[in-house]
C-alpha cells in the first residue's frame, strides 16, 4: 500500500509543480509575489461565488425551500466533476511525460493506476473547494448551523467524486485501448481548449440574456424548484448522491452514519473492482502512446517551393507559422485578437435593441459630440489591442532559439521590424471591426473613417514597436512550456499599460474637443504617435546590437 501512496505523492508533486512555479529556471524570484496574486484571485472568486450563493439562498428562503440548495450544490459539484474529469483523466492517465521511466520499476500495475487515479481525485478536491465548499459554507453560515452540518458536508465532498471518477476512468481506459487518440496529444489538447472556449462563450451569452430579464426572487425560487424536481429524478441514478444528501440533512448521528456507511460501501466496492479491471485495460492503451520510432512516412511528392519571395515575406511568414501551428500561441496570441471583437459585437447585438440604439443616437446628436465619438472609437480600438500579445512575446516565444537572430546574415533592425509586423496585422482585425460597427451604429462619415483608421494604425505601429523593445530588454528565454511565455509572463502587463495610457491621453483630449476642432485634436494625437514611432525606429536602428544583448 505504501508504494501506491508514495507514487501518488510523486505524481502529485510533478503535476502541481509543473503547473505552478517551475516554468522558469529562475522561478524562485517571483514565488512570493505569485502566491499573493493567487490568494487575491482566490479571495475574489470566493467573494463572487459567496455573493451569488447568498442571493439564491435568500430567494429560496422566501418559499421555505432553502434545503434544496444543498442538493443543488452537490448536484452541481457532481456535474462539474464529470465534465472536468473526462478531460483531466485522459491527460493524467495517458499524457504525462514520466510514464516511460515508471514502467521499468518493479511496481504492480494496480499501484501505478491507483496512484494516477488518486491524483485525479485530489485535483478534483481543489475544484470542489470553489464550486462546493464555499457555497455550502455560506449556507451553513446563513442558517447558523453547527458541526452536525459541516462534518457531513466535508465527508461528502471527500467521498462524492470517487465513484464518478472511477467510472469515467474505466470508460476512458476502454476507449483508449481501442482508439488511436493517444498519438495525437497536441490535437487533443487543442480540441479541449476550443471546447472550453465554446462553453465559456455560450455561458457568457447565456448570462447576458438572463441578466436582461431581471429575475425576481419569486421567479428564482420557481426555477430552483423546477431544478430540484429534475435533481430528485436524477438522484435515483446516483445513489451516493442521495445518501450523502440524506446524511447532511439528517438530524441524528445514527442516520448520518448509516447513510455514510452506504456511500463508503459503494465507493469501496467500486475502488476494488476498478483496481482489478483497470489492470487489464490501462496498459493496452498506454503503450500505444509510447512508441517513438522515426517517422518514415512516405510522403506524396515533395513540393520544393522555389518561388522566390523576398526575405521580409518569408520571415513574417515564419513568424505566423509558428504562431498558428502552436496550439498555445494560437489560443493566447491569435485568437483573442480575432474573437474578442466578434464576441463583443455578438453580445452588443443581443443586448441592444432598436430603442436603445436610437436613444444613444439621439443623445449623441443632441450634444453634438462628433469629436468625442471619434476619440471614443480610437479608445475602443485601444481597448482591444490590450490583449494582443504578439510583439510583447516576439522574442520570448523563440526561447532558446532566439540566438538564431544573431548568427544569420540579416540585420537585427530588419528582424525587429519583421517580428513586429504580425502584431500590427492582428490589431488590424479589431480596427476594421470597430470601424465597421461604428459605421453601422453611429454612421460616421467615410472621411472620418479614413482619418480614424490612419490614426489608429499610427498608434498601432508605435505601440507594437514599443512592446517589442520591452521584450528585447526583458526577454524570457528559459522556459520549458509555452504557457510560461503567454500566461505567466510579467511583461504581459505592458500592452495593457500602454493601451490605458493611450486611452487616458484620448480622454484628456476629449475634454478639449468642445473648444477646438476635433481634426486639430486628432492631428495632434497623430503627430505625437508618429513622433514616437519614428523615435523608436531610430533607437532600434542605432542600438540594434545592444538591444539584442540579452539574447545569448
Amino acid at each position: 500500500m505504501t508504494n501506491t501512496i508514495l507514487l501518488t505523492i510523486v505524481f502529485l508533486k510533478s503535476s502541481l509543480q509543473r503547473i505552478q512555479s517551475k516554468y522558469y529556471e529562475d522561478a524562485e524570484k517571483n514565488k512570493s509575489l505569485r502566491r499573493i496574486v493567487y490568494i487575491i484571485l482566490f479571495a475574489f472568486l470566493a467573494g463572487i461565488i459567496g455573493f451569488f450563493s447568498s442571493n439564491i439562498i435568500d430567494a429560496l428562503e422566501q418559499s421555505n425551500q432553502e434545503t434544496i440548495f444543498i442538493g443543488l450544490i452537490l448536484f452541481l459539484v457532481l456535474m462539474v466533476t464529470v465534465i472536468q474529469v473526462i478531460f483531466s483523466s485522459i491527460n493524467i492517465l495517458y499524457f504525462t511525460k514520466d510514464t516511460e521511466s515508471i514502467l521499468p520499476l518493479p511496481l504492480k500495475p494496480y499501484q501505478i493506476i491507483l496512484a494516477r487515479t488518486n491524483v485525479i481525485i485530489i485535483v478534483q478536491y481543489f475544484i470542489e473547494i470553489i464550486v462546493g465548499l464555499i457555497p455550502l459554507a455560506v449556507y451553513g453560515f446563513k442558517m447558523d448551523l453547527g458541526p452536525m452540518y459541516y462534518v457531513p458536508v466535508i465527508i461528502t465532498l471527500i467521498l462524492l467524486p470517487i465513484l464518478p471518477i472511477i467510472l469515467i476512468s474505466l470508460i476512458v481506459m476502454i476507449l483508449m485501448s481501442f482508439s488511436k487518440i493517444t498519438k495525437n496529444r497536441n490535437k487533443f489538447q487543442l480540441f479541449t481548449t476550443f471546447l472550453v472556449l465554446a462553453v465559456a462563450i455560450a455561458f457568457s451569452i447565456a448570462m447576458v440574456k438572463i441578466d436582461e430579464q431581471s429575475i425576481s426572487d419569486a421567479q428564482m425560487a420557481q426555477m430552483m424548484s423546477k431544478a430540484n424536481s429534475m435533481i430528485e429524478m436524477i438522484k435515483g441514478y446516483f445513489p451516493t448522491l442521495k445518501y450523502s444528501i440524506n446524511a447532511i440533512l439528517s438530524n441524528d448521528i445514527m442516520t448520518m452514519i448509516i447513510e455514510f456507511v452506504k456511500v463508503v460501501g459503494i465507493s469501496l466496492v467500486a475502488y476494488i473492482v476498478y483496481a482489478i479491471l483497470s489492470q487489464k485495460l490501462y496498459f493496452k492503451g498506454l503503450v500505444g502512446s509510447l512508441f517513438s520510432g522515426e517517422n518514415k512516412k512516405k510522403n506524396k511528392k515533395i513540393k520544393l517551393g522555389v518561388k522566390r519571395k523576398n526575405i521580409g515575406r518569408m520571415y513574417i511568414g515564419k513568424e505566423f507559422k509558428t504562431l498558428l501551428r502552436n496550439p498555445v500561441y494560437l489560443v493566447q496570441c491569435i485568437l483573442p485578437a480575432v474573437l474578442l471583437p466578434i464576441l463583443c459585437i455578438v453580445l452588443i447585438a443581443i443586448s441592444l435593441d432598436e430603442a436603445t440604439i436610437n436613444d444613444i443616437l439621439n443623445y449623441l446628436s443632441q450634444i453634438n459630440a462628433d469629436g468625442v465619438v471619434l476619440l471614443a472609437i480610437l479608445g475602443i480600438i485601444q481597448f482591444f489591442s490590450m490583449i494582443t500579445y504578439i510583439s510583447i512575446t516576439a522574442i520570448s516565444r523563440d526561447g532558446k532559439n532566439a540566438v538564431f537572430m544573431k548568427y544569420i546574415p540579416l540585420s537585427l533592425y530588419k528582424q525587429y521590424i519583421y517580428k513586429t509586423i504580425p502584431n500590427i496585422i492582428m490589431n488590424l482585425f479589431s480596427i476594421v471591426i470597430v470601424l465597421a460597427v461604428s459605421k453601422y451604429l453611429v454612421d460616421i462619415s467615410i472621411l472620418n473613417m479614413i482619418v480614424v483608421f490612419v490614426i489608429a494604425m499610427i498608434m498601432n505601429i508605435a505601440q507594437s514597436f514599443l512592446l517589442l523593445i520591452v521584450d528585447l530588454k526583458r526577454p524570457k528565454l528559459q522556459w520549458n512550456s509555452e504557457y510560461a511565455v503567454v500566461k505567466q509572463n510579467f511583461n504581459l502587463i505592458f500592452p495593457m499599460v500602454f493601451s490605458l495610457i493611450s486611452i487616458g491621453i484620448l480622454a484628456l483630449y476629449a475634454e478639449t474637443t468642445q473648444l477646438i476642432s476635433v481634426y486639430i485634436v486628432l492631428g495632434m494625437i497623430a503627430a505625437i504617435y508618429l513622433l514616437i514611432a519614428v523615435l523608436v525606429n531610430i533607437y532600434m536602428y542605432k542600438r540594434q546590437n545592444e538591444l539584442a544583448g540579452k539574447i545569448e
Binding site: 508504494n3 508514495l6 510523486v10 510533478s14 521511466s101 521499468p104 518493479p106 512508441f291 520510432g293 518514415k296
Partner: protein, 286 residues
C-alpha cells in the same frame, strides 16, 4: 544458467518498421553493447526485454519468462532509459525513500556512498542538475539495489570525455563486484564500446547483422586496400564486404592474419568498430 538474458526470435511489427527474429544472449559476467542506426530497433529491443512493449518470440531473463515473471524480474534489473527520471521535482533523499519501498534489496548506504563519491548535490531538485549529473544519478539509482542486470539506453550520449570515463568506471566496478552480473547497453559512441564491451551486437533495419566478441572484431578484423587487379584475384570466401572507392578497393576481412598469409597485399589495417559497421551498411556484397 550461463546467460542472464536470452532472446529467441523476438519480433515486433509497427506500421512502418519491423523488428525481425532477433536472437542473442547476454552471458553472465559480460557487457553486451548494442549498436545500430537510429530507429532500427535498439530501443525497441530494450523495451521488449523490459516488457514495456509486447512482442512475439521468447525472452528469458534470469531463467524466467519475462512476461510471466515480470515483477520478480524487475526487482533484479536496473534500468536507465534515455528520458527524464521518475520526476524532475524530487531530490536525492526523496529518491532514496521512494526506492527503499520499491526494491527489496535497496541499499541506502551504497546509494549515499556513490552520491558522496560523485559529489552530487543533496539539496537540489533533479531539475537543476546538469546533464552529466542526471545521468550519474540515474545510473547510481539503477545499481543501488544490487541488480543482476543493468540495462542502459544511450547512457553516455552528449557527455564530455571526463564524465564518460567516470561512468565507464562505474560500469567496470559493477561487473567486477559480482561475476553473476551483466550489462546490456545501446549506444552510438563506438569508442566507448571498444573500451568496455565484451560482445557487440549490431542491429540494422530490424535485423541482427552480427553478434561477435569485441576482441575478435578489434584484433582479427581488418581492412585491406588494394587495386582493382588485386581485388579480382581474391576469393570470395576470404572476405566479408567490399567498397569500391575512386582509385582503390577496400575490403573487410574477418581474419587479417590469415588473409596476409594467403595474399601478398601489404596494406591491411586494423578495423575499428565504426569501420566495420560502415562496411556492413554501405559496403557491397560479394
Amino acid at each position: 544458467m550461463e546467460n542472464n538474458i536470452i532472446l529467441k526470435k523476438v519480433s515486433k511489427e509497427y506500421k512502418d518498421f519491423k523488428l525481425n527474429d532477433i536472437s542473442f544472449n547476454v552471458p553472465k559476467g559480460s557487457v553486451v553493447g548494442l549498436i545500430g542506426e537510429n530507429g532500427v530497433g535498439k530501443t525497441t529491443t530494450i523495451k521488449a526485454i523490459l516488457n514495456i512493449i509486447s512482442s512475439q518470440g521468447t525472452i528469458i531473463v534470469l531463467g524466467k519468462d519475462n512476461k510471466k515473471y515480470e515483477q520478480e524480474i524487475k526487482q533484479e534489473i536496473g534500468v536507465v532509459l534515455d528520458d527524464s527520471f521518475l520526476s524532475d521535482y524530487i531530490d536525492i533523499k526523496k529518491i532514496d525513500s521512494i526506492m527503499k519501498d520499491f526494491y527489496k534489496n535497496w541499499d541506502s548506504k551504497k546509494y549515499f556512498n556513490y552520491i558522496k563519491k560523485f559529489k552530487l548535490p543533496k539539496d537540489k531538485m533533479i531539475n537543476d542538475f546538469s546533464t552529466g549529473m542526471k545521468m550519474k544519478l540515474k545510473i547510481i539509482t539503477a545499481i543501488s539495489h544490487n541488480p543482476k542486470i543493468l540495462i542502459l539506453d544511450e547512457p553516455t550520449s552528449g557527455l564530455d570525455p571526463v564524465v564518460r570515463n567516470e561512468i565507464l568506471d562505474i560500469f567496470r566496478e559493477f561487473i567486477a563486484e559480482d561475476e553473476e552480473r551483466s550489462i546490456l547497453m545501446s549506444t552510438h559512441i563506438t569508442s566507448d564500446l571498444e573500451h568496455i564491451s565484451d560482445y557487440i551486437v549490431f542491429i540494422d533495419n530490424g535485423h541482427i547483422i552480427f553478434n561477435l566478441p569485441t576482441e575478435e572484431l578489434l584484433e582479427n578484423y581488418g581492412i585491406v586496400k588494394c587495386k582493382k587487379e588485386e581485388f579480382e584475384k581474391i576469393k570470395k570466401e576470404d572476405y566479408i564486404k567490399y567498397k569500391k572507392e575512386k582509385y582503390q578497393y577496400e575490403i573487410l576481412v574477418n581474419d587479417r592474419f590469415k588473409f596476409k598469409k594467403i595474399y601478398p597485399i601489404n596494406t591491411i589495417d586494423r578495423a575499428s568498430i565504426e569501420d566495420i559497421m560502415l562496411f556492413y551498411i554501405k559496403g557491397e556484397n560479394k
